[in-house]
């Protein structure tokens, strides 16, 4: 493995650079944005980077689906695709639930900006919050 690493070029690593960029971009949006919808967008990008991390190494250039036939000898690994199909379903469910929560938060608070929402509850608790604000 370590020997092959040095032989790899930037081009070979292309998919990994895209993966890492999307991962960091998604996390950055999550941290830097206060808008609850934008946070979910960041979460979506972050999760998508993980799909790519699985899918890209499973693909062989010139490889086909694993079909039992004499004509095909080079196969792409189908397992990552199946796994990510599951992960996409999980991601969709998470996003749907997150958006549903934002709808409910908007109905209850009239805002989807995180700091405004948190400020609105600060005076609601009579003795004030003494723990760190989340």
């Amino acid at each position: 493995m370590t020997g092959a690493e040095s032989a790899m070029t930037w081009g070979n690593h292309f998919s990994y650079f895209v993966t890492v960029f999307m991962m960091v971009a998604g996390l950055f949006i999550l941290i830097a944005r206060g808008n609850l919808i934008k946070k979910l967008v960041g979460l979506g990008i972050f999760q998508t980077s993980m799909y790519l991390l699985y899918i890209a190494p499973g693909k062989l250039v010139g490889g086909t689906a694993p079909i039992l036939s004499d004509r095909f000898t080079v196969y792409s690994n189908p397992l990552p695709h199946v796994l990510i199909l599951t992960a996409i379903v999980v991601g969709v469910a998470t996003l749907a639930l997150g958006l549903a929560l934002v709808v409910r938060i908007r109905a209850a608070y009239g805002s989807i900006e995180e700091d405004e929402v948190l400020d609105m509850d600060a005076p609601a608790s009579p003795q004030g919050e003494q723990g760190p604000r989340q």
Binding site: M23, L97, I105, D121, Q134
Partner: protein, 495 residues
Amino acid sequence: MTSVAAHLPALQVVVPLLAAPLTVLLRRPGAAYAVAVAASWAALAIAVALWQRVAAGGTLSYAMGSWPPPWGIEYRVDALSAFVLVLVAATAAVVLPYSRRSIQEEVPRHQHYLFYTMFLLCIAGLLGVTITGDAFNIFVFLEISSLSTYVLVALGRDRRALVASYQYLIMGTIGATFIVIGVGLLYLMTGTLNLADIGQRIGAVQGSRPVLAALAFLTVGISLKLALFPLHQWLPNAYAFAPSAVAAFLAATATKVAVYVLLRFYFSVFGESVVFDRLPMQEAMLLLALAGMFVASTIAIFQTDLKRLFAYSSVGQIGYVVLGLSFLSDSGLTASIVHLFNHGITKGAIFLLLGGVAMVTGGTGLAHVRGLGRRMPLTSFGIVLCGLSLVGVPGTAGFVSKWFLILAALEQGQWWLVFLIVASSLLAVAYLWRFVEAAYFREPDAGTTGSRAVPWSMALPAGLLAIATVYFGLDTSFTVGSAARAAAGLLEALR
């Protein structure tokens, strides 16, 4: 035809998983409740049966759909998973009967059947995480339990429950995605997803950068799920604003199952050498555990709401579990695993009792519980009793785990740790005193005196867990016996 007994590992997950859609179809709260309780009791019976079989005959392996591992998904029950299965199933079996009256106060009636659906899905997810021997399957079940947990938290009456649920969703999903990235890197390096198989193949690629990166991603991801200090931010609000039954179930099981996943990856997959030799994981875990024990317990002292107080206490108690793990010794792991169970039932009992308090007095703020010692003597006594277990007073379950923790520290010759463990227990005394002072030394407010009594369907489960807290402090054969076997099993895999 094979007998049902052979399929118990599959049934453990399938029963609550199939009961969940059934409750949706039934729609009537009473019928949904009956199905949910029946499913949770069946799950408990299966968990106990599995525990007995593992205790008698060693590890069970079940090939899902008869595809042999490592190609198919394997369900694997060893001493550790059998023990955690019993904890999860037992808590569910106790909390579900409690939830019926409890949610009548807190959840609109037309949502009751959905509450049971979500609760069953959560149980199925947690049991699935514990029983599966497949790395990707862990992620799927973890998300099943997490997604249903977000919904359950959002069912809380207070609008802050929505924000708490949203924040939990963000943090939980980041944690889960980190876990999948870690699993993905392991899969790239070993070409397999079966945990035991990865454990065998990882020797060839140990120390390579992707494996170390996988370790880092998995550690951070699982630490988010188990609320290891400083990744605990989601926990206090989620526990404080969720319906009482949900808070009790989560406090007793969700973080404990995450600890199980951590143990599984550290010991069964990576093995000692890669986790603890190449990276200063032992020191890092020790430091975070100590920080959690002191900082979270100190924050707990200053809370004005009992649910938040005990939620912060949970973060502190997680510190003890991780502390035991960081010793990397037989007695240290035993302490971790025993504390996992003991803290689970103790915290479960406290949140169930607090649910009763909230019902009678209208809230769990310290102002609400003034004079509680006179108005609800048994409930107050129960909370104090379980609080003493958090402190680690002899005769309670908490003492047993702290005793093993101190033994493990002494074994390593780290007497200063013994001092710190005792000192952090004093912090627990301090936050427990906040409750005692309000409940026994203050006059009740005129406005909060309710004339209602806690219904027996809520008092009985809460009392049962409170009694269990004392019982497991006196008779340790089940807890310590199982934990010692589990610890030995984990360490044996390394040698």
